[in-house]
């Protein structure tokens, strides 16, 4: 009962950073508890070929469930297979990434197993053999320190917050065919439309370029896109509530209490004054840069670095110099 299970999500057969964070966290906790890290990953035939990398981030046992019907995420199949896998083992904790898939499947698994779930946690540790869990509440205006009475403890962990540690030994990979009956599923995915220009979701991006009212007009978003493109892969556009409410940007980009809570390595707040509900949603970012005309804007109170001035002059120069810097690397 000292083993820890992680769910490693794949997309298009690839294991992403959120999955590696979940596995590495499972390995750390298992180490503290004197057990080992088990991983379950689900997908289509051939997934085992990319699952081996999970050994490098601490997985001792990697169970790869391969089935045509699991190629793409469907909550009915995924929840059942994960719950069956947890029941068949003896785990102190079960860890899933708080991605769109993780947040969708984890509550179903928790209800099937009759254990509570702590969502979107930002720290989990073992103190004297007991798990201590912290998660932001009120969108980060406060942190709740939690204890859980059940075994296993179930959590989803916020992307970009947990360290990925490299391990020397590779894990043992075993493949199984999940016992599922897709014809009984009551949910069917009819169509998947990729976002324009392969945009990345703000909650998983390692860098976010966010714009607010100071951008003055939705037509001006090209300036933010130039900066995003200059910064390279892993960068998403974000937005303040004001510009989403005004219909300038889609709600999926909104950062803050009625949008998404984010924790990227680098956050650019451009033309955002810093309303309390926006600050709550981005204050756990590692490094914050603010660009604003008003030197007294609240955003400068949480920013590590600020530039005061006209964003229409600053942004083009910033995009240009970032591009030059990246080109020189």
């Amino acid at each position: 009962m000292s083993d820890v299970l992680a769910f490693a999500e794949q997309r298009a057969g690839q294991i992403g950073s959120a999955a590696r964070e979940a596995v590495s966290t499972a390995a750390r906790l298992a180490g503290q508890l004197g057990g080992s890290a088990h991983v379950i990953t689900l997908g289509g035939p051939g997934l085992f070929e990319s699952a081996g990398v999970l050994g490098e981030v601490g997985a001792a046992l990697i169970s790869v469930g391969e089935h045509e019907a699991l190629l793409e995420y469907n909550p009915e199949g995924y929840a059942q297979v994960i719950a069956d896998h947890v029941r068949a083992g003896d785990f102190a904790a079960v860890i899933l990434p708080a991605t769109t898939v993780g947040k969708d499947v984890a509550p179903r698994v928790a209800a099937m197993l009759d254990v509570p779930l702590a969502s979107d946690v930002t720290s989990i540790d073992v103190d004297d053999g007991v798990l201590s869990i912290t998660k932001p509440v009120y969108s980060g205006k406060a942190f709740a320190h939690l204890s859980v009475d059940t075994v296993p403890a179930m959590v989803t962990i916020r992307p970009n917050v947990f360290q990925v540690e490299q391990h020397a030994a590779g894990g043992a990979v075993s493949t199984f065919t999940p016992d599922i009956d897709p014809s009984a599923w009551r949910i069917r995915v009819i169509e998947r439309k990729a976002a324009a220009d392969g945009a990345l979701d703000v909650s998983e991006a390692t860098t976010i370029v966010s714009g607010g009212r100071g951008m003055k007009d939705p037509e001006n978003w090209g300036l933010l896109e130039s900066l995003r493109d200059a910064l390279g892969p892993g960068v998403a556009l974000g937005a303040s509530r004001a510009v989403v409410d005004a219909g300038w940007r889609p709600h999926g980009e909104q950062v803050g209490q009625t949008g998404k809570t984010v924790a990227p390595k680098l956050y650019f707040a451009v033309g955002i004054s810093g309303a309390i509900q926006h600050l709550a949603g981005m204050r756990t970012s590692q490094t914050i840069v603010a660009i604003n005309r008003d030197a007294d804007a609240p955003i400068f109170g949480v920013a590590d670095y600020g530039i005061v001035g006209d964003l229409f002059e600053i942004l083009p120069r910033l995009a240009e110099e970032v591009a030059a810097l990246k080109a020189a690397d």
Partner: protein, 247 residues
């Protein structure tokens, strides 16, 4: 078409949170229907209007003061409301069980939730209730349309949109998408006073995920203004690269 909407009373999102032990200081705090739940109420009203018949019922778990946001939902146009009185904590499964106990006998085609509550951000009670009731559930629905015995849902996901078909009866959790909530008219507010708002005690479910304490978010070290105007850009990039190691 009958629709039940589960709503939660939360502090206004503009609230400055003051910590008081395992909770927050509520004196002087304005409480509202959680914004995502308002989208769900709007979605339910539009579904009823499109069907041309049926009723929208509100269901909430909370203390007696939750009656106030339920009245607000009735003023928007919901037909009736039921408040299950209980102390609500962070254990979403305990909340889900109390709601599922009440919904067990419901034959409403749709049970709607907001995608998450604006206070604890757990994002779990909707799919948990669905699992307990053995109903299918689609989360994060930006818009949906009922077509006979199924609903076609548009769902925001990383890097795009999914179109999902779900058999009814179903549970959906609603995000902002197309459902900008309507304002209650004066007539609606007056009518709400005469609509049924029942109160009864929730079945008691023990909480197994407990808040030991709340703490302030980690303070951010005071930042600095690098400079003014575009000429500050090179210094900003130097700091981001050499000091913050962020570029």
């Amino acid at each position: 078409m009958n629709v039940t909407v589960c709503v939660k009373r939360v502090p206004d999102t503009e609230t400055r949170v003051r910590i008081d032990g395992t909770g927050i200081e509520t004196t002087g705090v304005k409480f509202i229907v959680s914004p995502y739940d308002e989208f769900a109420v709007e979605a339910a009203l539009r579904t009823k209007e499109a069907a041309g018949d049926g009723a929208v019922s509100l269901l909430s778990l909370g203390d007696a003061s939750t009656a106030e946001p339920l009245r607000a939902g009735l003023a928007m146009g919901a037909d009736s409301a039921l408040l299950l009185t209980a102390d609500v904590g962070l254990d979403g499964l305990a909340t889900a069980k109390a709601l599922a106990n009440e919904l067990q006998g419901s034959d409403d085609a749709l049970i709607l939730f907001g995608v998450k509550a604006a206070d604890d951000d757990q994002q779990q009670v909707g799919p948990m209730v669905a699992t307990l009731l053995n109903r299918p559930c689609v989360t994060g629905v930006a818009s949906f349309e009922v077509q006979g015995d199924r609903a076609v849902c548009h769902r925001e996901v990383e890097g795009g949109v999914e179109v999902i078909e779900v058999d009814l009866p179903a549970v959906l959790t609603i995000t902002k998408g197309e459902y900008e909530p309507r304002f209650a008219s004066l007539k609606g507010i007056m009518a709400a006073k005469r609509k049924p708002l029942e109160e009864k005690e929730a079945t008691s479910v023990p909480e197994r995920l407990r808040v030991d304490r709340l703490s302030e978010p980690p303070a951010r070290a005071a930042g600095r203004i690098v400079g003014e105007g575009p000429d500050a850009v090179p210094e900003l990039l130097r700091l981001l690269r050499e000091e913050a190691n962020a570029l």
